[in-house]
């Protein structure tokens, strides 16, 4: 069973997808309502950490129990890539709350 995509501590896990582009890896991350200035995507080996603050606190108040009383303030996640990448991304692009990050694969 997968873990919920939110925490009662106020963070949300974003949706993402990974594409292998041969010598590069492309990651698309859906970060709706994120404050673009706070988006951070950091790679180390095969691990990539993602974080971003929401522009305003969000509550799903019509959802009974569970997460309905949680005030969400940020996105946070750590993902594993299929291969190691160079730490600094080749390109970072944000459009309509979707972030595209391209990393160069580490040469073996």
């Amino acid at each position: 069973m997968s873990a919920p995509s939110w925490s009662h501590k106020g963070w949300l896990r974003p949706l993402y997808s990974i594409r292998d582009l041969g010598d590069r890896i492309e990651i698309l991350i859906d970060l709706p309502s994120a404050d673009e200035a706070t988006i951070e995507v950091r790679a180390s080996g095969r691990r990539v950490s993602i974080s971003a603050r929401l522009r305003k606190e969000t509550v799903f108040s019509d959802w009974s129990g569970r997460g309905g009383e949680v005030v969400f303030t940020e996105f946070r996640d750590e993902i594993t890539l299929p291969t190691e990448v160079v730490e600094n991304p080749l390109a970072v692009d944000v459009r309509r709350g979707v972030v595209r990050v391209i990393f160069k694969k580490m040469e073996v």
Partner: protein, 255 residues
């Protein structure tokens, strides 16, 4: 309390109150697929048109799910109606093994409720969606009448390619049943909820059925919808992967 229940194959259709569609009857189907385009659009349509929940459907082939909505127990497949429009809506991804029986049962049921046209509301996953500003909408008709109905809608006809998922089966069953059916598919993300595509899709469907659907609020609330829909989208992606949705990206060898 159910007013009426009816079994069609392995599906049970229940009604909470008596209803029948006015003429010309349209049944719109919104099931989880690419970008949740149909589901997000349908949820908005229910709100702006003030549609009433008139029934639902369930089956032992579906996951054991109950929906609690405003304190009422509802079935996983929900049915809403207003005047000449029937909306069949599910946020729960239907397992592939349930889709064959469901397609047949659904067409049988909506025809008997006075539906003369079936509209399939969905997204058309495109791998470069991130770069697209202006979304194209395509249509696939199963009859000449359905083809005529779409001509002034602003959508273009989808001529060649693969379709994978719940709507692929519904189209095949609609052809068998000789039902006027139109699939309306707007370019969208596959893996992320795409309310912008839903808004465009609704505008086209509105033209087909002759009802103006205001999408202003849908576009204003797009970010909140994307936040809320993350878990539903994750679950649908597992289902679509099982159905080999990636076939859709392949060009067919023979046209």
């Amino acid at each position: 309390m159910f007013f009426r229940e009816e079994y069609i194959g392995e599906f049970k259709f229940v009604e909470y109150s008596p209803y029948r569609l006015a003429h010309p009857g349209y049944a719109i189907v919104a099931l989880p697929d690419a970008g949740l385009v149909g589901v997000i659009g349908a949820s908005h349509m229910i709100k702006v048109l003030g549609m009433e929940e008139v029934g639902g459907a369930d089956s032992p082939l579906l996951p054991p799910v109950t929906i609690v909505s405003k304190g009422e127990i509802r079935l996983p497949i929900r049915i809403f109606a207003k005047n000449n429009i029937l909306l069949i809506y599910s946020e729960i991804a239907l397992p592939p093994q349930a889709m064959y029986g469901f397609s047949r049962a659904l067409i049988d049921y909506v025809e008997r409720k006075g539906s003369e046209h079936l509209i399939l509301m969905t997204g058309l996953a495109v791998p470069h969606r991130f770069e697209i500003e202006s979304l194209r909408t395509y249509y696939i008709p199963t009859t000449k009448e359905a083809d005529e109905a779409a001509k002034e809608s602003g959508a273009q006809r989808f001529e060649n390619g693969f379709l994978v998922g719940p709507y692929a089966l519904l189209l095949k069953e609609a052809v068998r049943a000789r039902m006027n059916t139109l699939m309306v598919a707007t370019e969208s993300f596959l893996e992320f909820p795409d309310p912008e595509a839903s808004a465009r899709n609704l505008q086209v469907i509105g033209k087909v059925i002759g009802v103006e659907i205001d999408v202003k609020e849908l576009l204003e609330k797009a970010e909140v919808i994307r936040l809320r829909a993350r878990d539903a989208m994750k679950s649908v992606m597992k289902n679509l992967e099982q159905m080999r949705k990636e076939y859709e990206y392949a060009p067919p060898l023979h046209i």
